[in-house]
Symmetry: C2
Subunit: 332 residues, 2 copies
């Protein structure tokens, strides 16, 4: 993470307080979906207690990423908004930034690998954003993004390492604890850590008794390894079907929050994930992408022991098309 | 409808009042899912206003049928409960009765065609019900069900033509009008009419200004034909992918309610249904079975004109497996 962009990002205030989260919730109130909390009786047997699902796959743009992107864009100054924003992502963050840009009256430029699926390119341009592609094998996306940002005076909206993005992601947990009695255990999918770091902020400020568990892939257990090492560890690009969580290193801002306020990190493999996706489809009637199913996978694999307790699992996203879902689940 | 069973059913009180609906809602409060109402911005353009989805596919057992079945079983006397109940269905009503039986401490016998898919048989027995199969080509299911009911002293739980079942189904609409400002237009999938008749009761008692629209398949437009004729008309078994709504005649109790309190009935064809199912999958991340998608299909096909108004569509069920969903949508 030696890119100048990353350094720029961390130069802003790194503290995320519960006041930031409450302010984000107020900004999101009229534009985000207050996503439902659904019971999942078929999963309850695996924890020994009750299980609820916080369905961010039903969020605007199909993932929790909308919360962070919108909050970040809503915090821009009028000048920044007039100039526009830039993001690199071919996935949920791209959809979130493009949608949030339309809602906040700014323009978004999305940097995307040239070999990203055409449907993703079309989805982002369909939302009114411009797309710039780059060659993943020859070009440095950090350098390209920085050059474009500088040339056009654009504000970078990072996918997780930004206080406003983390505060936005944290509203999932704040909302959950407002919708029902706070759970005893909260299980959260974990990639670079935006959603889990947000949960950590809410837990630390409001619900210290809440047990907080992150779930990452066995192939991409960068947070678990980093916790063991006591500092952020870089791993090889993980090979997993969970394409939303393929980063190589925990976030700079997210990792310290996880380090301080998360009780445990458990891992699941790809077959645990597809079993969870099948259960969510068949029993819960929910379309969930692989990375979105990590928390449910951990519960179903028996990694969350919470007898006589209430466990909530975040479903972080549902952006998967039917042919891919069918291909992945055919093998279960 | 000359079966003695049907006559027995109509011998009970045929009036369904809002008090019955409120009592049903109280019985269901601790066991049913308060299903979410989700915005569907991509459908809004077709009505000219806002569109919300009332997601009964996320109801316990995967369809609204749980509401009616549970309410009917909860109304049984202790003697009736001790003796057990009987239902004929290979679909959502069977799952609903089997589940409700387990919750109310009674036993269920489900009469199912011998050639129903093995998965449906297994699902119902997995819920603790007993299954009796019959040969659809040689045996009369009405006669068989009546014989079994008489022999074993079982109470028949009909799928729609029963006041307690209609009152239970009506709680969907009561709940919807409590969850958000009542919509201006309510669009409801329509088979024999249980869900729509329930909506009619709530509309008549509480929201006379609400415009109520039923949606049936073009191949199975028995309610539309019956309204035109002024009495219940029997049609040939409809050929449609919407296997939840293949009845041949409107219900005896449901039809008069529909006749009095429904503003319009519109029809959709199978291709409208698959387009709606694809939208619900891709944009709303919801698994919806063909008959469950009728209301959304009507909106998307442009049959609901409600400029500057709020339209709610009921999604009535989500019981479809992934291979069948994939097969149906491959052709869209």
């Amino acid at each position: 993470m030696n890119s100048p962009l990353q350094t720029d990002t961390t130069a802003v205030a790194t503290d995320v307080t519960i006041d930031h989260v409450r302010a984000a919730a107020a900004r999101l109130a009229s534009v985000a979906v207050r996503t439902p909390v659904l019971p999942a009786p078929s999963l309850a047997a695996r924890t020994g207690g009750q299980v609820m699902l916080k369905c961010e796959n039903l969020q605007r743009t199909g993932s929790f990423k909308f919360r962070g992107a919108y909050n970040a864009l809503a915090c821009l100054t009028a000048d920044q908004r007039a100039a526009g924003v830039i993001a690199f992502s071919s996935g949920n963050h791209a959809l979130a930034v493009a949608t949030a840009a339309g809602l906040t009256g700014t323009t978004a430029l999305v940097v995307m690998p040239a070999d990203a699926p055409g449907a993703k390119h079309a989805a982002v341009t369909g939302l009114g954003a411009r797309v710039v592609t780059f060659d993943r094998y020859r070009e440095d996306r950090f350098a390209l993004t920085e050059r474009l940002a500088t040339e056009h005076g654009l504000t970078l909206i990072p996918p997780y390492d930004h206080p406003d993005v983390i505060a936005g992601a944290a509203t999932t947990t704040l909302e959950l604890t407002d919708q029902s009695d706070p759970p005893d255990v909260l299980v959260v999918p974990l990639g670079a850590g935006g959603q889990l770091a947000g949960a950590a902020v809410v837990r630390a400020a409001l619900h210290p008794e809440l047990r907080l568990i992150g779930v990452e892939t066995a192939a991409g257990d960068k947070n678990r390894r980093s916790l063991q090492a006591g500092h952020r560890v870089r791993i090889p690009v993980p090979r997993t079907i969970a394409d939303g969580v393929t980063g190589e290193i925990p976030g700079e801002l997210t990792f310290p929050l996880i380090q301080r306020h998360v009780d445990d990190i458990v891992v699941v493999d790809d077959s645990d994930i597809t079993v969870a996706m099948a259960t969510l489809f068949d029993e819960c009637k929910l379309v969930v992408e692989p990375s979105g199913a990590l928390a449910v996978a951990a519960i179903q694999a028996g990694h969350v022991n919470a007898p006589a307790q209430r466990t909530a699992a975040v479903i972080s996203g549902g952006n998967i098309d039917l042919p891919r879902l069918e291909t992945l689940l055919r093998q279960t």
